[in-house]
């Protein structure tokens, strides 16, 4: 007889939006994780000893990408419902830490967020501030879906979750976001270029835009720290301006 209802999963889902709350350097997202699954304590365990060890094992150090962490929440809750041994749950949770962090960081931080930000910038050029709203809505529709999918898949698969993580969806999504980012980057570059072309002084603006973009690309590829790139660009800009001013 399953003890965890759909309503419980909905509660977990809503609480998962706060899972990073209380993040600290000692146990990272453990406080948030324990708070998220706390409502299940009395539902799953009758004796005080069992409840105590349930809470304690979920206060052990844990971390993952916040948008992917629901895979861990769902799978761990399933193991708890199935009364899996404590060592197995701790080991399983620990094994999810690396993959969920790496996959999530690559998908969200390195591909989806920048791609949607480029979309936002393009839309801002065309339709002004409403473009920002479009960026925000698309991102949040995806994050709401991803969190729900993570919880549902985690709960359905339990300890078999690795099949979901290594199978196509997340990798394909990352790949598509990367392609979308490249496509949008092409559009943004041309639009900015053309925009500068129709403004006054295009012969000064276009070389500055292309030159500084090229310089930054080279610097990023050489792993120069972004702060240095900013300072370098600003200093070079002042030097160029001073030279134009003098001659």
């Amino acid at each position: 007889m399953p003890k965890i209802s759909r309503f419980d999963l909905l509660r977990l889902y809503l609480r998962s939006f706060f899972i990073q709350n209380g993040w600290n350097y000692e146990r990272m997202a453990a406080l948030g994780f324990a708070w998220t699954i706390k409502p299940l304590t009395r539902r799953l365990f009758g004796s005080v000893e069992e409840q105590k060890s349930f809470l304690k094992r979920h206060l052990l150090g844990f971390n993952a990408n916040p948008y992917m962490i629901n895979y861990a929440v769902g799978a761990v809750v399933k193991l708890e419902e199935d009364k899996a041994p404590e060592e197995q749950i701790i080991r399983f949770k620990g094994s999810l830490r690396g993959p969920l962090g790496a996959i999530g960081d690559r998908l969200i931080w390195q591909n989806l967020r920048p791609a949607l930000l480029i979309l936002g910038l393009i839309l801002c050029i065309f339709i002004g501030a409403v473009g920002v709203l479009v960026f925000w809505l698309i991102f949040n529709l995806y994050q709401a879906y991803q969190r729900a999918r993570g919880l549902a898949k985690g709960f359905a698969l339990g300890s078999e979750l690795s099949s979901e993580l290594t199978r196509g969806y997340l990798q394909k999504m990352t790949e598509w976001c990367s392609r979308m980012g490249a496509l949008l980057l092409g559009i943004l570059f041309v639009l900015k270029f053309a925009h500068l072309g129709i403004e006054p002084q295009p012969l000064e603006k276009i070389p500055l835009f292309v030159g500084f973009s090229w310089l930054s690309v080279m610097a990023f590829r050489k792993n120069v720290r972004p702060n240095y790139i900013l300072w370098l660009s600003l200093s070079l800009f002042l030097v160029i301006k001073a030279m134009i001013w003098m001659f």
Binding site: D105, P114, C124, A129, V190, A194, F212
Partner: protein
């Protein structure tokens, strides 16, 4: 004016929450924050323009795990507010204001990132209490810890933002009075090196050989969109 500044401080608190603690809806991105600040001060175009610039400058920031990073969200709230207010005081020198604010926000974002580290160290102090509540199976105790962490983060964001706006008045404004001697034309096209920094990061992320076709397709679409 005061009501607006208080509202901006509250937004700073929400940005701090959104950045690392709760929801993570990207509300804390400079692009969004800039428009919001512009809306509060009835000057969306200035807010959006500054938001875009800070977004480009801080495109590289990713709040991942234990890494220490600047907090451009709060920095942008302060920077965009500063731009909107100062451009009313110095209407002929938007480039000089932007230039000064880019410097200011750079250091301020680092400071804000440092306060985030302190916030996380404060959160570590909540762990022994959590252990105690787990030992006693006192479930309500977890809610008090949750509220302390959430409230602490909101308060940090609000106070840092309020402090930043205060610094705009006591540091940046006097600095602008001194720097007014710099001709505005000298700083014309300042946004171009900043666009360059943003474009550099974008190319770094997406400019891979296997994406070349997509990038070319995007460029063709860009030409089409421009002609339309």
């Amino acid at each position: 004016m005061w009501e607006r500044l208080i509202l901006v401080s509250i937004i700073g608190g929400l940005v701090a929450l959104d950045n690392t603690e709760a929801f993570q809806t990207m509300f804390s991105q400079p692009l969004f924050v800039g428009s919001l600040v512009g809306l509060i001060f009835n000057d969306i175009s200035s807010g959006l323009k500054t938001g875009i610039i800070f977004q480009l400058v801080y495109f590289w920031v990713m709040p991942i795990g234990t890494a220490s990073f600047p907090e451009p969200g709060i920095g942008s709230v302060v920077g965009c507010t500063g731009f909107v207010i100062l451009s009313r005081m110095f209407p002929d020198q938007p480039n000089l204001i932007l230039f000064t604010l880019v410097f200011f926000v750079f250091f301020f974002s680092l400071f804000s990132g440092w306060t985030l580290i302190k916030q996380r160290q404060f959160n570590s102090r909540l762990l022994p209490k959590a252990d105690l509540y787990a030992e006693k199976v006192q479930l309500g105790g977890f809610d008090s810890i949750f509220l302390a962490a959430l409230g602490g983060s909101f308060l940090r964001g609000s106070l840092v933002t309020g402090g930043g706006i205060f610094l705009i008045f006591i540091l940046v404004k006097p600095a602008l009075n001194v720097l007014r001697v710099v001709p505005e034309q000298f700083l014309q096209n300042l946004e171009l090196p900043l666009w360059g920094v943003g474009m550099g990061m974008m190319v770094y992320l997406f400019g891979r050989k296997r994406n070349l076709l997509w990038c070319l397709l995007g460029m063709s679409l860009g030409v089409l969109l421009f002609l339309l």
